[in-house]
């Protein structure tokens, strides 16, 4: 697939005022989500999760158990959705695919020398090809933050475009690692680069760097998606990842998506949460909303 744009097509990114962003985010957080809106929202959150394990110590055993959980979040409670995808390292894609594929759950693979991205392009391309050939439905690449902070925007742009080409039909999520970009102005600029270079999704973080998916950062990225949509009519997805570990924060993220992007984005084709522990808190809240009492964490499985 040919890239649609080159770096010269990039519009100049608007500046972002941190104080103003914080105020806006506080307004999202003051929304009161109750009753059926809460239940519907919580189920939506479950269906948007990319259940993730990205550790050096990952083994087939660990991945197998997590994949089972992806399809069986809490069988004691009927009619729960499954998660959207499992997210693993390229070496685990084949295994993951063999387990979750039959359940209609996608396999996402990190690539491009995740999490640092400090490898030559050939290595990154090979890494990506390997994951795609092993059956990854989605590729979560990292951008070269060093190059970005060094002002080499064209490098970053071209690299994303090159990875996009080898993704084929797999959807490309571009991880900005916003914790390393440090300013919202940088987050906005990197979002614009990723989107114009061909990202299907933009994603906040690897989960290895703090802070990760703060609402301020996600809001800034959602605005970039909004502006691109207004300019071109094309939708881009969003995936906050890292640090969203409870249901309330997840619901506030949905509020933000609804108000900035709209209803069209409120599904797992266009919005995902990258998280490992979020699912259980959401399950706990769903059961509590129904029964009125909290159950202990021992009733929710750890896979």
């Amino acid at each position: 697939m040919l890239k649609a744009y080159n770096i010269n097509d990039l519009p100049s990114s608007p500046s972002v005022d941190k104080v103003g962003v914080e105020e806006r985010v506080a307004r999202f957080q003051s929304r009161s989500i109750k009753n059926q809106a809460k239940m519907q929202g919580l189920k939506m959150v479950l269906s948007m999760i990319d259940l993730t394990t990205l550790e050096g110590k990952d083994t087939p055993g660990k991945v197998r158990q997590m994949c089972f959980k992806a399809a069986h979040l809490h069988d004691a409670y009927p009619n729960l959705p499954s998660v959207a995808a499992v997210c693993v390292y390229p070496s685990m894609v084949n295994l993951a695919k063999s387990i979750v594929g039959v359940h209609g759950i996608n396999v996402a693979s990190v690539s491009t020398a995740f999490p640092s991205g400090q490898a030559p392009l050939e290595v990154k391309l090979a890494d990506t090809k390997f994951a795609v050939e092993n059956g990854a439905d989605e590729i979560d690449m990292v951008i070269s933050r060093g190059k970005f902070l060094g002002g080499e925007y064209a490098f970053v742009f071209d690299e994303i475009a090159a990875i996009k080409e080898v993704c084929g039909r797999s959807r490309l999520k571009v991880i900005l690692e916003t914790g390393e970009l440090t300013t919202l102005d940088n987050v906005r600029k990197a979002s614009d680069i990723a989107i114009y270079a061909g990202a299907d999704f933009i994603k906040t973080s690897t989960g290895k760097i703090q802070p990760a998916a703060t609402m301020q950062v996600t809001y800034t990225m959602l605005q970039a998606i909004r502006d691109y949509y207004d300019e071109t009519g094309k939708m881009v997805g969003m995936k906050p990842a890292g640090g969203i570990s409870n249901a309330k924060l997840a619901l506030h993220n949905l509020v933000m998506v609804k108000e900035v992007l709209g209803q069209e984005w409120l599904n797992n084709e266009w919005f995902r949460f990258g998280a490992s522990s979020l699912a259980n808190d959401v399950l706990m809240q769903i059961l509590k909303t129904d029964s009125g009492v909290y159950q202990s964490s021992n009733y929710f499985t750890l896979d």
Binding site: D17, G20, K34, G41, M44
Partner: protein, 481 residues
């Protein structure tokens, strides 16, 4: 892949009213007692959301006002001017603390009586009202430091008349500096929003403030006029319309009454092409739709640099569509009810004028409640400086949008108004901000924000927006000679 097709809407999240205590009938609070009005007349305070009756409120006539002023004068001579400044401070602190303790009840009553969203009453009006009292309580025994070597003295009885847009906040805004500087008070709330002032009277009573130091009389314009005209009132503090401000000026001409008038506005909110656009759009929303646009310093004239006008307007329309309009007591409501049917008529009159003038009109696409006084957030695009809409204060959720090309042009246009209360400037460039703040003839100029208030910051206008400053150190001076 599972996808969610049903639209996700916020469920009702209506704040309860079970905890509020409202009397069926309120008398006047004069000389530390609740008394029946000599007029023997009461009027109804209603909820603008559903037009339901909330409570009967006494209508004070001239004799009632006279009794209140005499009580205030006696309290001034016998008690309030004799106790130590530190004692005065203690009383004000006590009132502030009691208000804080009853914040939830006050917020709900404020929302019920005025139509403002509970979120604003809870997060802005009530906390800010408490803060004003805390702030001025601290000054009570430090006036010698505020005005070194000047031996300032209080004025006596302050007659204070407040509007319906921020009922309790304006009451606190007026009472706090008056008491801190050693004056006594006769306060009249607006006829559509008397209830939180009456709750404040209960709090003042509970605080044990000496009788007559604060008197609260309710009623209409004639009650206010009686306060202004009373010979024993030494100071008039008024917040409200420019028309009434002019009447007050006429009444007190030739007397030695001091006055501060905080009147109308038609404030300019100026967006440059180098502004943080999404935050500027928030600032536009906050500037004009805060409190349904019932804000004297509302950013009701938007000036957008022409090269970004289309983009800003597109963003603004999209953002407006996510505003939640409806029951003020719902915690998710962004825009509540217009304060009264009379004000709704005024706003609609201006919307009709705008349509007839031929400006492009945009209104949020939403359903309004069947009952109550509601108005859709409204934009008028491509408005000219000579349009009625751009010149007159509407005091509602109606924004006019004008474009400009250069800095000089926008300064000229922003200043080309009989008003001069506030302005907003949005740009990433510090030098541009300082250039504009020194040239805009407005009492407050906000940079990259709008509608921010703090007790330590003075507030007031140029030209027909009034004179005198309230808040901060400046606010003390208005109650001293």
């Amino acid at each position: 892949m599972s996808t969610e097709n049903k639209n996700w809407e916020y469920a009702d999240a209506v704040e309860g009213t079970g905890h509020i205590k409202l009397k069926e009938k309120y008398g006047l609070y004069i000389n530390g007692e609740w008394v029946a009005p000599r007029s023997k007349t009461y009027f109804s305070s209603t909820n603008p959301h559903d037009e339901a009756h909330l409570a009967e409120v006494a209508q004070a006539n001239k004799q009632d006002v006279d009794a209140a002023v005499i009580a205030a004068e006696r309290a001034y001579h016998d008690v309030w001017s004799k106790i130590t400044p530190a004692e005065r401070g203690k009383y004000i602190f006590r009132i502030a603390r009691l208000m804080q303790e009853q914040a939830k009840e006050l917020a709900v009553i404020e929302s019920l009586d005025s139509g403002k969203p509970i979120r604003e009453a809870r997060d802005i009006d009530i906390p800010l009202a408490c803060n004003h009292l805390f702030y001025y309580a601290g000054w009570a025994d430090k006036l010698d430091y505020a005005f070194p070597n000047q031996k300032k003295e209080p004025l006596g009885v302050a007659g204070q008349i407040i509007p319906w847009n921020f009922p309790l906040l304006m009451a606190a805004w007026k009472i706090a500096p008056a008491l801190a500087t050693g004056n006594t008070v006769v306060l009249k709330p607006a006829e559509t929003t008397s209830l939180t002032a009456l709750k404040l009277a209960e709090i003042i009573d509970e605080a044990g403030l000496p009788p007559g130091v604060v008197n609260i009389v309710t009623g209409f314009g004639d009650t206010g006029a009686a306060i202004v005209a009373h010979p024993k009132v030494s100071k008039v503090a008024f917040t409200g319309s420019t028309a009434v401000g002019k009447l007050i000026q006429k009444t007190i001409a030739g007397t030695d009454k001091k006055a501060t008038l905080e009147l109308g506005g038609k404030s300019a909110n100026i967006i440059f092409d180098d502004a943080p656009l999404d935050q500027a759009v928030e600032g536009i929303i906050n500037g004009i739709f805060f409190n349904q646009g019932h804000v004297c310093c509302a950013g009701s004239r938007l000036f957008v640099q022409e090269n970004i006008a289309d983009k800003v307007i597109r963003k603004l329309k999209h953002r407006m569509q996510s505003l939640q309009i409806g029951n003020p007591l719902d915690k998710n409501t962004d825009i509540g009810a217009i304060n009264s049917s009379e004000q709704l008529k005024t706003i609609n009159k201006y919307i009709d004028i705008g349509r007839k003038e031929g400006s492009e009109c945009f209104q949020v696409d939403c359903a309004l409640p069947n009952k109550g006084y509601y108005c859709k957030p409204t934009l008028f695009i491509n408005v000219a400086q000579s349009s009625v809409l751009a010149q007159e204060e509407i005091f509602g959720p109606v924004l006019t949008i004008q474009t400009f090309r250069t800095i000089d042009e926008v300064i000229q246009k922003a200043n080309n108004s009989p008003y001069g209360l506030a302005a907003g400037v949005w740009t990433d460039k510090g030098s541009k901000i300082f250039n504009l703040t020194s040239k805009l003839k407005a009492g407050v100029v906000w940079a990259n924000t709008y509608n921010k208030f703090d007790p330590a910051s003075p507030f007031g206008g140029y030209k027909e927006s009034g004179f005198g400053r309230e808040g901060g150190l400046h606010g003390l001076g208005a109650y001293l000679k």
